[in-house]
Chain length 353, copies 2
């Protein structure tokens, strides 16, 4: 579809410092496209960033039929702009759409629109080390109707937000609490979809964890409350006795793009890796045997976030003396190196804008 | 707080027929109140029904932090307007608020605002038998911020929608499918809160059921997939060998106002009732023994909705020859009688507007 572009009449001041709070500053333009039953997706357009107007009965406000994605654009040393595996985000958006009964998008087409938006906003991609331009595509149900049923109209939007470095003072291991009361997701539910309700469902548990000095919670499976699933915004990896173990996708775990990239790199590096069910009790046993060498999360926000301590029902696992482990560091350097165009991209992960 | 009232300059045409599709027609005014961290809830106002304007980064679009309620205003024969146990909806709204990390409301105060709104819109309460004015209070998170954390600002709104009779051609038993693939909610999750994400999570299962000729699905517990929880928009009751059995509140079942009213009436009528775990296998055994006398849902929309058939993994339970059972009929007549002010309200359930 041909895209309509309406440029902003005046441009905003861009942040001068690299201390940009996550998700609070937005660029001058946004992408919008509408959907109507019978007509399909229509009127793709890049327009000035502006509030949107919806009927109070719009279904998004009542029944939460919505999906989103998160990816980043990186500034290379020679002034170019790179996206990291954006096709994976488009695939996952459609996977989420199917779970939430939202009409699918044309993945290539929408990726093309995102590239055009980022191209127009390329001066917003920050230059400081560790910074990037966060890209948030999302689809909301807009039909004004209180019937509990899929919407007949939708709006796909893409907004952009420059973000500062995740680790402002250098990479630092975090403390995580194994959540034993609340549940994030369960088999047959929406845990594998990137949909709004999964995130606010976690707030109570996260607030409790923060009060106790933890950065986030590690979720267990909803059925037996034994098997490790994921951290709020990251998939989790453990290095145990030379092998890397990560929970197998269970239907209630989000399939992270960074997760799949870590798995591919480990394979390349001939580091043995197991995707399987792992209970927190099993993990604790390895810890007691001195075999738990590293733990780290993998996600778009932090790329790799080492876990220095895990607290589980009064048991404390201190991992690698709460220092950054060599594998976490190697993965971080490799992935960010590819993202910034500083390391050879043999897999075609980086996409030029 | 003193309420600000801005009347609409022109009024809409009210529906003349009783065939009003649910949730698509809205009255002339709505109630709005805002919340800001540090200030609390402020500026309660009744204003003309109109679209609302939000930043595309408003948290409701991304992380689903939102709650809602549903109740009805009924027209009495002498032209009065009654609400049915609205204090219970206010209590549940705050219960949902606590689960979703949304600031609580002053229940009495907000109920007072709702009464004022209904009073202004009293000509919208339809007169035909079985009709009512549906009241939808809801709270949405409005802070423009992509950080995954509770919002610092919210908007509470109340919109009103005249609705036609649930059973247009008289009460008719429905066919329900026992859902064995998808899961609505699980212990530790948000199932007991009235929050948006729970509803769209059900669309896939409901669409499958409808294709097979079922009106809705009966959800099983998320852990063992054995115990009966609720129907999409109703709690469920079974009459087994003279006794009434309904699933005990498990933490993942919504505590319906109609459910609690049914329980209180059954007690008054000296009909034995058990709130307990009941598996679908146990139910099927009673069915085979000829002891499953009635099944019915209880909820604000239908009040009482008899279930004529339950399909479970290839097993069919035909209940009371797919006719309306005497207990379902008695409960329906009693509750709607009280709602319409036609039967004596010994419990103080009805509230005059």
């Amino acid at each position: 579809m041909s895209i309509r572009i309406e440029k902003a009449e005046s441009l905003k001041q861009k942040p001068e410092s690299k201390k940009i709070p996550f998700g609070q500053v937005f660029t001058d333009h946004m992408f919008v496209m509408d959907y109507e039953e019978g007509q399909g997706w229509y009127d793709p357009r890049i327009v000035p960033y502006a509030p949107i107007t919806l009927d109070p009965a719009a279904m998004i406000f009542h029944y939460g039929q919505t999906v989103f994605e998160g990816l980043k654009a990186y500034r290379t040393k020679d002034g170019g702009t790179l996206l990291f595996r954006p096709d994976k985000n488009m695939q996952r958006l459609n996977k989420s759409n199917r779970r939430m009964s939202i009409p699918e998008i044309d993945e290539e087409e929408v990726l093309g629109y995102i590239k055009q938006l980022v191209e127009i906003e390329k001066d917003w991609v920050p230059e400081f080390e560790g910074t990037s331009l966060y890209i948030r595509p999302f689809i909301i149900s807009t039909e004004p109707n209180l019937a509990v049923a899929p919407s007949k109209t939708y709006k796909l939007m893409v907004i952009l937000s420059p973000v500062g470095p995740y680790f402002a003072g250098g990479m630092k291991p975090v403390r995580i609490k194994v959540e034993d009361e609340f549940t994030r997701a369960v088999k047959g539910g929406t845990g594998a979809a990137k949909t709004a309700g999964n995130y606010s469902a976690a707030y109570r548990a996260q607030a409790n964890a923060k009060q106790e000095g933890h950065a986030d919670v590690l979720w267990l499976d909803g059925v037996e409350k034994r098997y490790i699933e994921e951290v709020g915004s990251m998939n989790i990896f453990f290095k145990i006795d030379g092998k890397v173990v990560t929970p197998a996708l269970s239907g209630s775990i989000l399939e992270g793009v960074t997760r799949m990239s870590v798995l591919e790199l480990l394979k390349d590096w001939d580091i043995p890796v197991e995707e399987r069910k792992i209970s927190v009790a099993e993990l604790y046993q390895y810890y007691e045997e001195g075999k738990l060498e590293e733990a780290f999360g993998a996600g778009t926000a932090a790329v790799i976030s080492p876990v220095g301590r895990l607290d589980w029902l009064g048991n404390t696992m201190t991992i690698n003396d709460e220092e950054v482990g060599p594998l976490a560091k190697r993965l971080y350097d490799e992935i960010t190196g590819i993202q910034l165009g500083e390391r050879e991209d043999t897999k075609g992960w980086s996409v030029n804008v």
